[in-house]
Structures are given as structure tokens and as C-alpha cells.
Amino acid sequence: MYGDLAHKLALEAKRTQSLDKLPLYQDTLVRAIVREIRDLQKEADVLTEHASQDDDRVNQAQLFVCHLCMRRNKRCLLAYQRLRAERLDELVWANNEISKEQMDNLSPQEQEYLKKYNDLVSEFKGPLEKIDLGGTLEPPEDVFIDVRVLKDAGEIQTEYGVFNLTKDSQFFVRQADVERLIQQGYLKKL
């Protein structure tokens, strides 16, 4: 039935909402839906041509259903694509490296969009660079913390000078400066 493919796409969108990574772009399905819309349009054109008698209710009903199906298909296409675009936006804001696996799931057009949106966000951040707009949206905790070095991590340079991170030494450092090192297991928050 008309609309079944679009329903499948809507279900795919629903599934996408619950996934951490964007799944593969449903190229075949999208194309099939576009084709269905064009078929419907042809059907509608024929029906319009034959709608000579005013009182042809069957014709009118069919035409109406054609239009509804086309609109429904369009809505599903747009909702699917918009959801994916929103997820791409989130990827840009998260400012993490995007894995190859994730990149492969995007269509070429989406990759292009991703690149351009990334540029746009950089532009937007420009005037507000002191705010670090890409930073965490969780309320701040302690800015400075005590850490112990778990394994040698060499020298790091911060605004508060150079720290030589040798095993078992302790430092009072700005949390933001060492967040990565804590995650990587070099340092332990005390």
C-alpha cells in the first residue's frame, strides 16, 4: 500500500533516536519513497485530466488520497532527514573526533553538511571565544583539584606552569587542564 515505505522510514527514525551512533543512511528506501511520490503525482495528473464531470466523486476521492499519500511521504522523508541533521549538529558540538565507522554511515551529502555546519559553528563561536561554547553544559564543580600521578605522563604545560608528572607525585591543578589525563588513567582525583 502507498505509505508503507514511508512508515518503514519513520520506524527507522524512531530506532535512530534510541541509538548512540547514527545508523547507515537508508539510501535505497529514500529513493523508493521519492519514486512512489512521482508515481503518485503521475496518477494525480491523470486523474486531474479526467476530472471533467463535476460530480465524479470517485475521481475526487482518488485524487484526494493521492495528494494525502504524497504529503505523508514527504513528511516522513523530511522528519527522517531532519532527525539525522540534528544528530550531525550534536556531533559537531561535541567536538570529538568522529570515528571512521560513524562517517561511513553517512551519505556523501550528509558528510558535506557536517563539514559546512562545523564551519558555521566555528564562525558562531568566534565572537564568544572566551566562553568556550563547546564546553560542558553541566554546572561547574571545583575548578582546582588535588591529583595523584598513577603512571608517568611526562611534562604538561598549563597556565600555572610546567608540571612534571612522575609516578606517585601529587599536584594541585586546574581540573580542566587534566580532564583527559584522568580519563586516560594517568592521574587520579583525590
Binding site: G3, H7, A10, L11, A13, K14, Q17, D54, D55, R57, Q60, A61, F64, V65, L68, C69, R72, R75, C76, L78, A79, R82, L83, D142, I145, K189, L190
Partner: protein, 169 residues
């Protein structure tokens, strides 16, 4: 309601039951909805008060979940009602009411919603009790809105508890 809302799109896919030229058909709401409220353009010839004339493409039959039996069940024991098969029950009620403005139905379902939401709130507060015994049955009978409501409420209670008990660093 947003054009891009996936849940709304899916709620529209739920079957409604219209009759067309006295033939019963199951159509998704997105199709049945407009067909049921739109009159055919040449129907303007008919007299305004000519109620017997069929002037819309089709008429909707009341779906099973608004049937008197179902509604009676809601009245007697809203908590035992299984809304899970309908996925988007409250959305569908809203859509139905958009079309037909059934105040009585809305009042009844609103009351059921509050009853169920309070039960759900209780369970979301007790951190570990919700998947046991009769609670489990209730949890399995939720529609998608209620499930989300439970999750959000549970998360909020839990976050506050964790915050309150968290040791300072």
C-alpha cells in the same frame, strides 16, 4: 505538535476504522483523518440541514479502544487497563477529540491519566520496586508517553537522592 515529530508520525500510522460506501476498511489515521472531516466540494448543493446526506468521503467508526466496554473498564479500574498495544494512546485520544470534540471522553481519559500517573509516580519513587509482582503488570501496561514519564520521574528522584547522599570530594 511538530511536523517533524517522529512519535506523532507513528501515532498517525495507528489504524482507525472507517467505512467507505458501506465497506469496512482499516486505514491509518493520517489518511482517515482528513477524509473523514473533509466534505466533497460539490456537496454545497445540498441543503444545510440535510443531515442524511453523506457529505464526507467516509465516516469513522469508533475505534475499539473508545468503545463503551472499554470506557466502562477505564471507569472501574484505570490502573489495570492495558494501553501498551495502542502505543500512543493519549495522542490518539487527542487526535480523535480534535476531529469530534468528545468532551465526555476527554474528561474520562484525563481522570484515568491522573490515576495512572500517580501510581506511576509512586513506583518511580521507590527505586527498586517497580519490576516486581503486580507492579510488573502495571509497568507492562503503559503506553509510550507513560513509559517516558516514568523514566523521567524516576531519573529525577534518583538524581536528587544521589546528590543528597553524595560525599564531598
Amino acid at each position: 505538535m511538530s511536523y517533524y515529530d517522529i512519535d506523532d508520525i507513528l501515532a498517525d500510522s495507528q489504524p482507525g476504522s472507517p467505512i467507505k460506501e458501506n465497506v469496512r476498511l482499516e486505514l491509518p489515521i493520517w489518511l482517515a483523518e482528513i477524509l473523514a472531516i473533509c466534505s466533497i466540494s460539490n456537496s454545497s448543493d445540498y441543503e444545510e440541514n440535510d443531515q442524511d446526506r453523506e457529505t464526507t468521503f467516509l465516516k469513522l467508526l469508533e475505534p475499539e479502544f473508545f468503545s463503551p466496554v472499554f470506557l466502562n473498564f477505564i471507569k472501574s479500574d484505570a490502573l489495570r487497563l492495558n494501553l501498551n498495544p495502542y502505543m500512543f494512546y493519549y495522542r490518539i485520544v487527542t487526535k480523535w477529540s480534535n476531529m469530534f470534540g468528545d468532551a465526555e471522553l476527554v474528561e474520562l481519559i484525563s481522570k484515568a491519566l491522573v490515576d495512572r500517573a500517580c501510581e506511576l509516580n509512586d513506583l518511580s519513587f521507590k527505586l527498586n520496586d517497580h519490576f516486581r509482582g503486580s507492579n510488573l503488570e502495571f509497568m507492562n501496561n503503559l503506553d509510550s508517553y507513560e513509559k517516558q514519564l516514568f523514566k523521567n520521574s524516576h531519573k529525577s528522584y534518583k538524581n536528587l537522592k544521589i546528590w543528597w547522599l553524595k560525599k564531598p570530594n
